[in-house]
Amino acid sequence: MLELDRVTAGYDRGVPVVADLSLAVGEGEAVGLLGPSGCGKSTLARVAALLHRPWAGTVRLAGEPVTGFRFRAPRAERTRVGVVFQQPRLAADPRLTLGDLIAEPARATGRGAELADRAARLADDIGLTPALLGRRPHEVSDGQLQRACLARALLLRPGLLICDEMTAMLDASTTAALAAVVEEYRREHGAALLAVGHDRVLLRRWCDRVLDFPTGR
């Protein structure tokens, strides 16, 4: 599904934070990427989500080399990868209600009406009540907001989900609940998962295989 081939990435012409890393996530496979905080694994997650252009190396999605990143990536390629970040507060536009937040990718791709039912069902499956969907990010807890962010990432049925420390800010029960939602989605759609995190026990439990970050083994 996803192949990173000798990827080197960084910011502003400094020292690369990801150097010469290769990694592959198979069709329907769940891969955990384990590393300490600040080691560059978030940068790698952004490269894999086509959100950051690497300095060198190739990213292949379903066998095809990716041609561009951020806005330069074709919409069809971008929406094939769903992404959830560590801090839901930063990943949610503070002006949108949770309902609008979840439906945002559908509207952005002109499929708002078509996917309205799916958005509602997804919100329900993920445990968000209609009352919560009318609230804005500052009116809900981190756990509730992260649920909405996960629903947003799953709305367009991505074939690959990238979770960058998705549960680092969350309590045990919410962590297990979000992991179960991802599990269920993957079973239903045969989707692949790249979970980036620092908790070995959690990643072992969640993924088919767990790699250590700097080495990619």
Binding site: R78, F85, L90, E104, P105, T109, H138, L155
Partner: protein
Amino acid sequence: MNQPAAPPTAVEAGPWHAPRRVRRSTRAARVAFSAALVALAALAVLLVPPLFPLDQQAVDLTAKLEPPSGAHPFGTDEVGRDVLLRSVYGLRVSLVVGLVAALAASGIGLLVGCAAGAVGGRFDRLVMRLVDTFTAVPHLLMGIFIVAMFRPGVWPVIASVGLTHWVSTARIVRAEVLSLRSRPFVDAAISGGASRLRVAVRHLVPAVLPQAGLAAVLMVPHAIWHESALSYLGLGIPAHEASLGTMINGARGSLVTGEWWPTLFPGLLIVVPTLAIAGLAGAWRERINPRRRSELVL
């Protein structure tokens, strides 16, 4: 387990306490006072003109330069016209010019700043050089240059202020957009398939609107001062029309001979409402300060 058996100092469920606060008292009063002054000025310019038409020819040379009295609370000017009535008319011109010019300047600034920040790269560098160029030229001078190209009137003044004052807003907005652009919520929108335009319109512009709006309000007093300055210099509003700047200009001669009222009262009408507007803008700034933004964090 070391459960506290009997609380040493058990308290009854008493009344609810508010958290103690060191200072907040004067802020509410200050805001209310500013709001009242602004409202008074707005009411005056809206209600007075329909009720008391300003007769431009009401020159009464028998009553020239009368000090403030019951009949003329602000006194009369060098040709016997009522300073109070003319000041209110002058304030109306100033407020309209200030508001329209500030809105125009902020609109241009918002557009330029958003475009520079959102597009980035070479376009951003080009725009910022232009902004630097504008900043390097004293803007009163450039304003004078612009009004000098037209016949005196309200619109040249608005154009002169609007076209010279967008740079600061553009800078503020651009910086804000640049910092927002790398936020995860923009990443999430891109990943969800949003186009560049949609990210700008749906996520970036709404986020900078409060800042741009604040800049616009803060610019109103500034624009009023510019209008007065241009009119005082004889370049803005035509001399025969009542504007605070032209009134002060016309009163120069009488000030030397000790008749202070035709200068002081229009001057106060420039200073007091502009300070009140600035006070309201300050309160708004405190509101949108992110530190105070979300009071309840669960």
